[in-house]
Structure formats: C-alpha cells, structure tokens
C-alpha cells in the first residue's frame, strides 16, 4: 500500500517539476550578467557561453537570448571593462542584462565575431529559432540547420524535433540529424542515423543514402553497408506507395472533373438522344462566369474575396442554365427527331460562342487568384502530396453528383425526367409536359457543365477554347457509361479518370487517350449501349 502512495506522490512531484520547467521563468539580471561575462572573457569559455545562451533561450528566456544573439551576429554587442555589456545599434544603447537604456554610449569597440565564430553563431541562432512560435521562422531555421548540419547540437535538435508538429520541418530536421550521424566515426551512431533516415522516406533521403553509400564504399564496415541497403529498400517501398497513391489521387481528381462535365451531357443525351457539341462551351462559360465573379468581388467586396469560389457556384449554374434553355428554345427543339443535325447545329453554336468570348475577353488565358484556402496542400507521406484545389474538385464533384442523383431519383421533376427518358409517348399521353421537361433538363445539363467550369478554374488554364478538350473526354464517359445513367456516368468517369492518370505519366497523354479509345471500342463490342444502359423505348 505504501508503495502505491509513494508512487502517487512521486508522480505528482514529477508533474510539478515538469510544469515548473516548462513555464518560462526569465533569468535574473545577475544570472544573465554572469553568462555574458563568461562570453566576454573570451577563449574556450566563449563557445560554452554560446551553448548556454542557446539552452537558456530554448528553456526559459527566449526573447532575451534571441536579442543578445542578434546583437552578437550583427556587431551590436559591446563588452566593457567593467559593468554589464551593452547592446547598441537600435538608436539607444541598452544594458544587455536588464535591457534598460544606459546613459552614454560605450567607449569600447563592439564585438566582431571571427569566421569560425560566425558559423557557430549562425547555427546557434538557427537552433534558437527552432523554438520560435512562428512556423515560418522555424521552417527557415530548420533549413539553416540542415545546411550547417556538421555544427548542430544533436540534443537540442532532437528536443526541437520532439516539440515540432509540422511534418515538413520535422522531416528537414531528421535529415539534418541523420547527415551529421552518417559522418560520425562511431559505427553505432552511423547505424542509428541510417535507421533514422529510413524513418523519413523521401527523394532527398534516398539521394542522401545513395551518395553516402557511393562515397564510403571502400571504408564502410559491412554492418553499415547492409543497414544502408536495407534502409534504401524501405525508402524505395515507401516512395512506390507514395507514387501509387499520388497517381490514384490525381486520377480521382480528374475523374471528379470528368464527372461534372459528363453528368449534364449524360442527362441530356439520355433524355433527348441529342449530342450537344456546345457542352464544352458551357464549361467555358462557367469558367468565365467565375472569372467575372472573381473580378467583381475583388473590386467591390475585397474582404470576402476568398469566398468568390462559393459565390461563383450558384451564379455559374444559373448563367449556364439560362444559356442552355435559350439554346433549347431557339435551336434544339426544332431538331428533336434529327440527332445528327443537332450535332452540327450545336457545333455552330459552339464556334460562335468561342469567338464571342474571344472577342470579349481575349484569347489568352485569364489569370485567377486562387483563394487562400485552396493554395498549397499537405504532404501525406513521402512522394504523396495532396493539393487543396484537387480535394476541392473531388468534394465538389461528389456534392454535385449527390445533388443530381437526389434530384433525379427523389423529386417529382426527376420522376418526370425519368418517365420521359424511358417512354416519351406514354409519358406524354399521361399528361407529362414533355417539352417543358426537355427544356428544364437541358438547362440542368448546361448548369452542371457550368459547375465543371467553376472547378476547372482552380485546376487548369481558362481560355476560350478550353471546352473542346474536355468535351471529347466527357463524350467518352457518356458512351462508356451509358446515356442517361447517373451511376454509369460516375463509374465510367472514375474508370477513365484513373486509366488516364495511370497511363499518362508512363507513356504520355497520347497513349492515355488512345488506350481509353481502344478500351471503349472493345467494351462497346459487348455492350453497345454502354456499361449501364437504360432500358428505354423511345
């Protein structure tokens, strides 16, 4: 029983000690003075004083320590014959221990570090910065430590590593530590370093180990060689996994774009048997609508600027839906029994639209300012980097698909669309206003294309002819998935997106397109109406 209480008290005490150590209690001025006098004494004590300065800064007195360090490096630190040293350079001379102004400027010359000391100070300063609350400062410091890895203080860097949350900085620090360890004379330390490098697989660490192996081929002991080779294998495995993941990820995001682009096409094709060659231009109009929204928000609502992408979603949908319905009213409805001529008529509309946009906005790419939250991305692990814009594309595509699916499957409007798609004449004789359904469905399809345009602004360049390159792929999705089938569209856009992105890095974009084409022709041999053909009796 006493053992239990003993342990409890012990634990409480150790927690209290830990808390006391963590809470930053600045040094008293006499303690500071002692440290600096050691420094001013010169000789070997100077190095230990710097180490102490760093450890003091890391532990409890960061601000003061950083202040002195900067002064030391910039030639603003004046040792005096008697009394406290002085920091000059910021207009008024300060007492280095209390940071209070002193009366008159010192007569002595400031301290000028030697080249060796300069290097030591640079590392020391970077080490101090590793504990800065600002991520950017820490990142720069980590890069600095990595460059000067030979001079770093391993205990300190390990401590920084333990406190660090940012994966990127962590990786830099581990590599820096490992580099130092690899150059060590002690085999045990080398082995430890090799194992540490294997923990952080990346192209950099791979190059590091490969070079290490090549440089020390003759002098290295067999155990280290084996360990290095094993580490290289581990790193290669991870890099491969990373590569596979990033290919799958980019395939997924491409599939998202295809899904947005093809969904509207599929609904219209399934319902009306009409191929809308102007579909790509609705994508383009959606992108340009986003552009206009962006510029308007920039001019009139700069505070809300980052939200422009969300404002653009409904605006682009409505603009494109209106364009689509106009096209239906003016052209398509006269051509319903003549699908091939619809193709030509919509092509005519598409070249006119491209030229119109070219005249209005110019034929160059328009520049977009990416909203802050879509900039950059996150390193998941070695070689696998996800970018927020692609995540946005995937999420939006899923949202659009879910909405469209709900609309078609669970609303009255969707019911009428399905009825008209499956048996137009029966639906009409039961009182379904087929013409109005056609018009609304066409508007819906065009609106969905507009949403694809919004997503594309964050991923590719926006220019008047951007639609043509996407529309061919979107057609392929519809042909493969089966016209009018939402699930088919989703499955086939996923398949085509992944195939495209798997083949593209290996054999190039052309091979990807050709492979997709061949695959579709082969599949269509067995299933002429696509994978998920609807049973229709039009």
């Amino acid at each position: 029983m006493t053992g239990f209480w003993y342990r409890c008290v012990w634990a409480a005490v150790s927690i209290w000690i830990g808390a006391a150590a963590a809470s930053a209690a600045p040094l008293t001025p006499p303690q500071r003075l002692a440290l600096m006098q050691d420094f001013c004494a010169g000789g070997a004590a100077q190095r230990t004083a710097i180490d102490r300065l760093v450890s003091v800064g890391v532990a409890d007195d960061h601000d003061w320590s950083a202040r002195v360090m900067t002064a030391l490096r910039n030639g603003g630190f004046v040792c005096r014959q008697s009394g406290s040293p002085v920091i000059i350079g910021s207009g008024v001379a300060l007492d280095a221990s209390t940071l209070q102004p002193v009366g008159e400027a010192p007569a002595e010359l400031p301290y000028v570090p030697s080249i060796v000391m300069m290097r030591a100070l640079a590392v020391a300063s970077a080490e101090l910065d590793l504990f800065s609350p600002k991520t950017e400062t820490r990142r720069a410091a980590a890069a600095q430590v990595d460059r000067k890895f030979a001079a770093l203080n391993p205990a300190l860097v390990e401590r920084a590593l333990a406190n660090e949350h940012d994966a990127d900085i962590k990786r830099t620090l581990s590599v820096a530590l490992a580099k130092r360890g690899l150059n060590s004379e002690l085999p045990a330390e080398r082995l430890k370093a090799i194992a540490a490098v294997a923990q952080v697989p990346s192209e950099t660490s791979r190059t590091l180990l490969t070079n290490f192996l090549a440089d020390h081929k003759d002098t290295l002991d067999p155990a280290s060689v084996r360990a290095t080779q094993a580490a290289l294998r581990t790193i290669d495995e991870w890099l491969l996994i990373g590569k596979v993941c990033s290919v799958l990820f980019s395939g997924l995001s491409y599939a998202g774009i295809l899904l947005c682009a093809a969904l509207g096409l599929s609904i219209v094709f399934g319902l009306l048997g009409v191929i809308n060659l102007a579909h790509g231009e609705f994508i383009m109009i959606g992108a340009y609508t986003t552009f206009v929204v962006e510029r308007l928000m920039q001019a009139h609502l700069p505070g809300m600027f980052n939200a422009y992408i969300f404002v653009a979603i409904p605006v682009a949908f409505v603009v494109c839906a209106i364009c689509g319905m106009l096209l239906e009213v003016c052209v398509i409805r006269f051509l319903y029994r003549r699908p091939l001529e619809t193709l030509l008529a919509t092509w005519a509309v598409s070249i006119a639209l491209i030229k119109l946009v070219q005249i209005t906005f110019g034929s160059q790419n328009v520049e977009f300012i990416t909203p802050a939250f879509l900039n950059g991305g996150m390193q998941m692990f070695a070689g696998f980097f996800i970018t927020w814009n692609r995540i946005f594309a995937i999420v939006l595509a899923l949202g659009i698909f879910a909405t469209a699916y709900g609309l078609i499957r669970h609303t009255r409007f969707g019911l009428l669309i399905r009825a008209t798609t499956q048996r137009r004449d029966t639906a009409r004789s039961l009182g379904v206003p087929a013409e109005r359904i056609d018009r609304l469905a066409f508007g819906l399809g065009a609106g969905l294309a507009g949403l694809a345009g919004v997503v594309l602004t964050q991923i590719t360049s926006v220019n008047p002819s951007m639609g043509t390159s996407f529309v061919v792929d979107a057609f392929m999705v519809v042909v493969l998935g089966g016209a009018g089938s939402l699930v088919g569209t989703a499955v086939s856009s996923l398949a085509l997106g992944e195939i495209n992105q798997v083949i593209e890095p290996l054999y190039g974009a052309v091979a990807a397109k050709v492979a997709v084409l061949v695959l579709i022709v082969l599949i269509i041999q067995r299933r002429p109406q696509g994978l998920f053909a609807l049973k229709t009796r039009v």
């Binding site: 094709f269 191929i275 029994r337 003549r338 030509l344 005249i359 392929m476 084409l517 002429p528």
Partner: protein
C-alpha cells in the same frame, strides 16, 4: 433520323462531272494563254486556291458518300485526308532529300544523321500513292470492322470517330513520333521531278485535282446508281429490316466506309503538294466537323450538293477570313444554323425543289 428522298435526285447526275473536266481544261488556259490583263486570267494564287478548294470538295464528296447514302456520320474524315496527306509528305521529303541531301529540320532536331529507312519505302511516287490509299483503307477497315460489327450507330459512331480524330491529332503533335510534331512536314522541293515552286507544276496539280474530283464523282455516282447504291440507301433508311432480309449490312457499310476513306486519302495527297505543308491541325476535330458542315450546307445524299457546299463554304472562308477574320465564325455558325433549322436537306435539294416547283407550275 429524317427520311430523305427515297432515291437520289436524278437531275443531270453524270454531266455534273463535266463541270470539273471543263475547269481542268480552263485552268492551264487561264494561266498560260490568256493574258494577265484579261478578266479571265488566273494568277498562281487563284489557280492554287481553286486546286485546294477542289481537294476539299473531294473530301466532302467522300463524306457524303457514307453520310448521305448510308447514314453514317463520320466526324473523323480528316483522319483519312490526313493519312493521305502525310504519306504524300513522306514522298515529298524523300524527293527533297535526294535532291538537296539535306535532312529536314525536324530530323536534325531529333538528332538523326541519316534519312530514316522506314520512310524510304515512299521513295517513288506510284508506290507512295498506292501506299497512301492502302494505309487509309487499312485504317478505315480496322476501325470499321470493329464498330460496324458491334452495330455502333448514329451519334455513338459520330462521337467515337471524333475521339479517334482527337487521339490521332495528339499522336501527331508528339515530337517523339518522328513526324515533325506540331510543325508537321514541310520544306518540299519537287514532285516527280517537277519543281513545286514552278507555276506550271502548281497549275498541273490543280488540274489533276479537278480531274480526280470528276473521276471520284463519276465512280461514286455510278455506285450510287447501281443496285448496290439502292442497297446503301436501304441501309440508311432501315438497317434492321435489311438485316432481317438477309443482307450483311456490316459488310456493305464496311465497303462504303473504306471506299470513302480511299477517296479522302486521294484528296489529301493532292492537297499537300499544293499547300506545301502538312501538320497535325489537318486532323483536328474541328476540321472534321467542318467537313460535315460543308456537306450539310450543300445538301447531303446528293453528292452534287456536297461538292457545291464545300466549294461555297471554302470560297467564303478564303474570302472572309482575309477580309473580316473575326466575323467569319459567326457567319459560318449562322449559315449552319439556318440550313439545319430551315432547309434540312441543304441548298442543293432546296434549289432542285424550287426548280421542280417552277416546272410544274409553268
């Protein structure tokens, strides 16, 4: 699918070819004999323009043969035109190399030191002509075999041909393929020993194009008027019924498709020496849709309409895209929309209807 006239209109079906024979006779006259002051004189530019337009007319003729007669809308006829063009380009490169012994620029960029042996098979003009047609027919055969057997019809077929065009264009844009990438093949000097820079060579090429068009028209017209031609129209109007009656409609379609590809390839082979360059834009999906637009404007299913449509649209295009480049797409779009909406069988059918109406009323 709307029903066209059950049979082809039969006004002056064969004599139409005379128009191009006459043009073929006129071109050398107009350039060589008629003096430059005369209104009937044709400059090199004019002759060249006519030659190019006639090549496009031949391409439209090829498309109308499959679309108007059999009901297969190809949005990829530029592929066959391009195949013919590239093969002619290979021949012309051979000719240029044997003359100058200087490798074409793109081969130098590729780091080649010798003319590639694979292109040497196109060394002789007759061989190149045969190979060009053979290549186009082979490509059409493979593609047609897979698609027609799978009974891919209507817009599905059109979309797949468009994708094919797009894929081929991307392929040709690729520099590593060794076909000049986006610059294409150029730097031609002579054809069959005649210098391309000579006026007379260009005149004879344009003349040859006119004669080829007349010949192709007569050939296709003869097929269309034969009993095979009637079968073709039957395939267009009710393929299922014809199949039930025991016809192998896929073979019939394959035959037409390959023949059409051959005509398109010949057009491409005549086109390239006249423009002096062949690059991947010739197989861009846009041009291939445009061919269908020429046919639709002129009137499909009549062969004459397709030729006239191509000539009309291309003449307008040459004229307007120089005068008012930004207006041309709107005019083309406007014409296409008006024709598809209000005159679905095209200008030629409209004209013949008008003529017939006047004849019956008088």
């Amino acid at each position: 699918m709307s029903k066209l006239a059950p049979m082809l209109p039969r006004q002056r079906p064969y004599s139409f070819a005379l128009l191009f024979v006459a043009l073929a006779a006129y071109l050398p006259l107009a350039n060589f004999l008629i003096s430059a002051e005369s209104a009937f004189h044709l400059s090199l530019f004019g002759v060249n323009l006519i030659g190019q337009i006639v090549c496009f007319a031949m391409l439209a003729l090829a498309l109308d043969f499959v679309w108007g007669l059999v009901g297969i809308l190809s949005l990829g006829h530029g592929v066959f035109f391009g195949i013919g063009g590239y093969v002619m380009g290979f021949y012309l490169l051979n000719a240029a190399y044997s003359e100058t012994k200087v490798l074409p620029d793109f081969m130098l960029f590729m780091g080649w030191h010798d003319f590639p042996a694979a292109l040497r098979i196109f060394e002789h003009l007759p061989a190149a002509l045969g190979l060009g047609i053979a290549a186009a027919v082979a490509a059409a055969g493979v593609f047609g075999l897979t698609t027609f057997r799978a009974r891919i019809n209507g817009v599905y077929f059109s979309i797949i041909t468009q994708a094919l065009t797009y894929a081929l264009m991307l392929l040709l844009f690729n520099n590593d393929l060794g076909l000049g990438g986006n610059n294409g093949l150029t730097g031609f000097t002579s054809i069959a020993g005649y210098r391309l820079a000579e006026v007379s060579t260009q005149v004879w090429l344009a003349t040859a194009s006119c004669i080829a068009l007349a010949g192709a028209y007569l050939l296709l017209r003869a097929i269309a008027d034969s009993s095979l031609g009637h079968t073709l129209v039957a395939v267009r109007d009710d393929e299922a019924r014809l199949r039930f009656l025991g016809y192998r409609t896929d073979r019939i379609k394959l035959f037409t498709w390959c023949l059409s590809a051959a005509v398109a390839a010949v057009a491409g082979m005549l086109y390239v020496p006249q423009v002096g360059i062949i690059n991947p834009t010739i197989v861009s999906p846009v041009l291939s849709v445009e061919i269908a637009v020429w046919v639709a404007i002129g009137g499909r299913g009549t062969l004459i309409g397709a030729v006239l449509g191509a000539i009309l649209v291309n003449s307008l295009k040459f004229w307007l895209s120089a005068k008012a480049p930004s207006v041309w797409p709107f005019i083309l779009a406007g014409i296409t929309l008006l024709i598809t909406l209000f005159l679905s069988n095209g200008l030629w059918s409209g004209a013949t209807l008008l003529l017939r109406a006047r004849k019956t009323s008088s």
